[in-house]
């Protein structure tokens, strides 16, 4: 690998004579009201950076409103090193909506910059002026976004693209990479759309060139290859599609809708179908019907939808019908915060429903795991005839990252345990077996008949409320959870294997933990983390071994009551240091690092 290319630089924090280091890790936040095109900005910047081979992560934070008062932000962190999380603070704030961006300034790091619109019509009161809130240790760049957008598009639309042009100049990013992204984004719509957007971009670029000729410079490694970009929702949908998914039923809900949209588009290409049904109750019903008929099926939802589905999930457990339910978690309870992240659905996933109701619960930590994990989920559901609740979250689902995904494609994948020819004729739908899994005959196949039901039943499927039958059948359903351990991946230990501080976490929090561990290591404190996609059941031995080798255990998670810590305590009898992060934004690596160091201090004293 060649060293980074280097030319002269003007450091913004130290205007002159300061350090000559180029920026290598930058976070840019676009803030606007919904409709300002904040997301488009994020996509274009991410696309451009990925094409330059930079590692990056994009996070969108929306309000639930479409237009009007609601604010949304997109933050893009890009670096010539690996990006594990969104990090702490941002380098650049682009205020597409001035007033709404004011509160974002607190996240801008000293020496960073704020790009604000300087052609807002009318008298702008001081309190509403973004420029008025820029402290002296941050550079403010006024750009007439609205005016230039008007010049380019004839309307107020296109402020975002003007701002992209400004950003491109100010950070000396290669223009062509952006123009290429504009082509990708607008080229399909119409040649006029492309033309006006390129014009808007160029106007923003030229404006800054004329008014702020001194630009910052970024380290771009020459040898980097262009990188593909995925969101967790993309990866998840494609993972399922590549792994034999044939049917999808769902109901729109933020932040899961995208999965359905992808399936709607892709499934018919392989003989599958997506149906948007009237509610989540209908969605889970459809999925169970399809699995019953022998097709791999899935639904995706968020907390409120999962709540609605609880009753049907009980039926799926009882009737041993496979179902894959993706829950892209958002802030709860009830309608809660549809556009904010929280890891609060663990309990309903584990325990929601009536009766003794065993089900599989999984939680991916990375975008890559969204892909591989959903494939495992489909396999487990079909093989073990059980509902699988797959807990993604808003942050994992919607943020975009550069990642490499090892494609695994098997479009007719089937893990159904089929009956032996010898069993046919005396076929029992719920036959008692060693692993609890009964061979499954599907409609259309010859060899037997059955009726499934939500009532307790005998191995043949007949309703039966006798105590010993209920015990036997309950025991059978729980036995499947133990049996599937042979198919589960072992848990991984990351970080310093010899460290005494061990961290166990779940879901998307892992990225911030890994970066927090690196920050702590820079201060001389070593730690390790156990990474496991399985919540229930788990590879219990690897957990016990990890706990035994750690003097203190930290369990960080984004919910109020420590739902995962509660599970670990009851399952393994440990007494961990719990970190209940009340966050609607991505978890701060600095906070994780501080906690590691605090725990280290406690250990040494």
């Amino acid at each position: 690998m060649k060293p980074p290319s280097s030319t002269s630089l003007a450091s913004p924090s130290k205007p002159a004579g300061g350090t000559k280091a180029k920026r290598r890790d930058i976070s840019v936040r676009f803030c606007g009201i919904a409709g300002d095109g904040v997301v488009t900005c994020g996509r274009i910047l991410a696309g451009a950076c990925a094409s330059l081979g930079l590692d990056l992560m994009v996070n969108d934070i929306f309000s639930a409103e479409i237009r009007g008062k609601g604010k949304s932000t997109t933050t893009v962190r890009f670096s010539s090193r690996i990006v594990h999380s969104m990090g702490d603070g941002v380098e650049v704030l682009v205020g597409l909506a001035g007033k709404e961006s004011i509160e974002e300034i607190k996240d801008v790091r000293p020496g960073g910059c704020v790009i604000y619109g300087s052609s807002i019509p009318g008298d702008l009161p001081e309190d509403d002026s973004l420029a008025a809130h820029v402290p002296p240790n941050i550079h403010g760049f006024g750009v007439p976004l609205r005016k230039l957008a008007n010049q380019a598009t004839g309307s107020n639309q296109g402020k975002n693209i003007v701002a992209m042009g400004a950003l491109c100049y100010l950070y000396s990013l290669p223009q062509e990479a952006f123009i290429e992204q504009l082509r990708k984004n607008f080229g399909r719509k119409s040649s006029r759309a492309l033309e006006v957007n390129i014009k808007a971009f160029t106007l923003g670029f030229e404006y800054c060139k004329e008014h702020y000729p001194l630009s910052f410079e970024l380290e771009v490694l020459d040898t980097l290859e262009p990188r593909p970009l995925y969101t967790g929702n993309d990866a998840l949908a494609h993972g399922a599609l590549d792994w034999g998914l044939k049917f999808f039923a769902g109901y729109p809900i933020t932040p899961a809708t995208k999965i359905m949209e992808i399936c709607a588009k892709e499934l018919p290409k392989n003989g599958g179908w997506t149906i948007q049904v009237e509610d989540e109750i209908a969605a889970i019903s459809n999925v169970m019907g399809a699995f019953f008929a022998g097709k791999r099926a899935m639904t995706s939802t968020a907390g409120p939808g999962l709540s609605l589905m609880s009753e049907m999930i009980g039926l799926a457990v009882m009737a041993e019908i496979p179902a894959v339910i993706v829950d892209v978690q958002r802030g709860g309870p009830a309608t809660g915060m549809p556009t904010k992240v929280e890891q609060g659905d663990l309990n309903i996933a584990l325990y929601g429903g009536a009766g003794d109701c065993p089900r599989v619960v999984m939680a991916p930590s990375t975008v890559r795991e969204c892909y591989t994990g959903i494939q495992l989920a489909l396999d487990l559901a079909e093989k073990y005839q059980t509902p699988v609740i797959f807990l993604s979250d808003l942050f994992l689902g919607q943020r975009m990252v550069t990642t490499s995904i090892p494609k695994r494609v098997e479009r007719d994948r089937c893990t159904r345990k089929k009956p032996f020819p010898g069993e046919l004729g005396t076929y029992e739908r719920f036959k008692i077996t060693e692993d609890g899994v009964s061979p499954l005959l599907i409609p259309g196949e010859e060899g037997g008949f059955y009726t499934i039901t939500g009532l307790e039943h005998t191995p043949s499927g007949n309703p039966n409320f006798e105590s010993n039958v209920h015990s036997m059948m309950t025991e059978k359903r729980y036995r499947k959870m133990k049996a599937m351990c042979v198919d589960l991946p072992p848990a991984d230990v990351l970080g310093d294997k010899d460290a005494l501080i061990g961290i166990v976490t779940w879901g998307s929090t892992l990225g911030s933990v890994v970066e927090g561990m690196e920050l702590a290591r820079e201060q001389g404190v070593k730690s390790k983390v156990l990474k496991s996609i399985m919540i229930n059941p788990q590879h219990e031995d690897s957990f016990r071994e990890f706990f035994a080798s750690s003097a203190r255990i930290i369990v960080p998670e984004v919910n109020y009551e420590g739902q995962y810590a509660a599970l670990l305590k009851s399952r393994y009898g440990i007494q961990p240091v719990e970190m209940h992060i009340s966050a609607v934004d991505p978890v701060s690596p600095a906070k994780i690092a501080n906690r590691i160091i605090e725990v280290q201090d406690e250990l040494t004293h």
């Binding site: 002159a16 009161p125 002026s129 403010g140 760049f141």
Partner: protein, 333 residues
């Protein structure tokens, strides 16, 4: 009481400090259109040639404003003053109110109708940002062309000479035109320039500039064609009074003020290079000259804004060291 100061140069920064010393509880906001912390413009040449460090150039810092409890708004231009409403409007349309206002916007090089169309081809030599841009371009520069009047031309020639560039100087008159310098020193100056092999084009002016292959072709009124890698040109240094246009505040070339630095509008003061001050013994308005005068005017303006009543005393001469010659420059002819 909210004091608003437009301009972060010597006058503005001094006024802010003076006000804050006299009125601890007063709110002081100081606004500058450059995006750097205030610095000493008179040291830019020294900085360019490496004689002065960034630390010496910058006379203020983040800590200074924090300690003094002065709110600095940098990189933001004030477009218009509304003395009747006691508000100012920024270029980004924000409207801000004041109780007392100080205009200390300084002055800057301006181009007349002949040079104006070539503004994009002319390198400015005035702000810290200009200097950084010149530093970036310097490695590819061998020859520079300078056309402009006054001490600033000498300063620029000095700077370019120190960084080893070949200089062509175009002037309208017979000799270098520095009316503020004692006439007996002019001879010294001429010989200093001659020693340094500066190409002197007199009785001429630029009428056109073209950019050809990253170099510049300058055409003069007398029909000369000169080549350079950088062109510096200006017609005059004019006070920055754009924000006062059509406000009713009296402006000649600069803002007209009395010896207490008051402009013609109530509660509006002005100080530094942007003003013309009425001098009772000279019986005329005069434009400020030099850093010490700007500092002094800022101090007086600040004191009077904070409720004192002091008159300005003129510093009559200033010492410059140009091309190794100590020059005593006077404030007027």
């Amino acid at each position: 009481m909210r004091y608003v100061i437009v301009g972060t140069g010597a006058a503005g920064a001094t006024a802010a400090r003076t006000i804050k010393r006299m009125d601890r509880d007063g709110e002081v906001v100081i606004i500058g259109d450059e995006r750097f912390f205030p610095y000493n413009r008179y040291l830019l040449t020294e900085f360019l040639s490496g004689a002065v460090s960034a630390a010496e150039l910058f006379h203020t810092s983040e800590e200074f404003f924090e300690a003094m409890d002065i709110r600095l708004r940098k990189g933001q231009a004030v477009e218009r003053v509304y003395p009747n409403d006691k508000t100012i409007r920024f270029a980004h349309n924000e409207v801000m109110s004041y109780d007392r206002l100080l205009i200390a916007t300084g002055r800057s090089p301006s181009l007349g109708p002949v040079l104006r169309p070539y503004a994009k081809l002319i390198q400015r030599y005035y702000t810290f940002e200009d200097i950084l841009l010149i530093q970036k371009r310097l490695p590819e520069v061998r020859e520079v062309i300078v056309s402009g009047r006054g001490l600033s031309a000498l300063d620029l020639i000095q700077g370019m000479y120190r960084v080893g560039k070949k200089i062509t100087y175009i002037t309208r008159g017979q000799a270098i035109d520095v009316s503020t310098v004692e006439s007996h020193l002019m001879g010294d100056l001429d010989s200093a320039l001659a020693e340094r092999e500066i190409n002197f084009v007199h009785d001429d002016r630029i009428v056109a500039i073209e950019c050809v292959d990253n170099r510049y072709l300058v055409k003069t009124f007398q029909g000369k064609e000169l080549w350079g890698d950088l062109v510096f040109a200006w017609d005059n240094y004019t006070p920055n009074v754009g924000c006062l246009r059509n406000t009713g505040i009296e402006v000649k070339t600069g803002i007209l003020v009395d010896l207490r630095m008051r402009s013609s509008a109530p509660e509006v003061y002005a100080a530094g290079d942007c003003v013309e001050i009425y001098h009772p013994t000279l019986k005329n308005y005069w434009i400020n000259f030099g850093w010490p005068n700007a500092v002094e005017q800022g101090r007086i303006a600040g004191k009077n804004m904070a409720g004192d009543n002091e008159e300005y005393q003129i510093h009559e001469t200033t010492l410059f060291n140009i091309l190794g010659k100590p020059l005593e420059a006077r404030w007027w002819d």
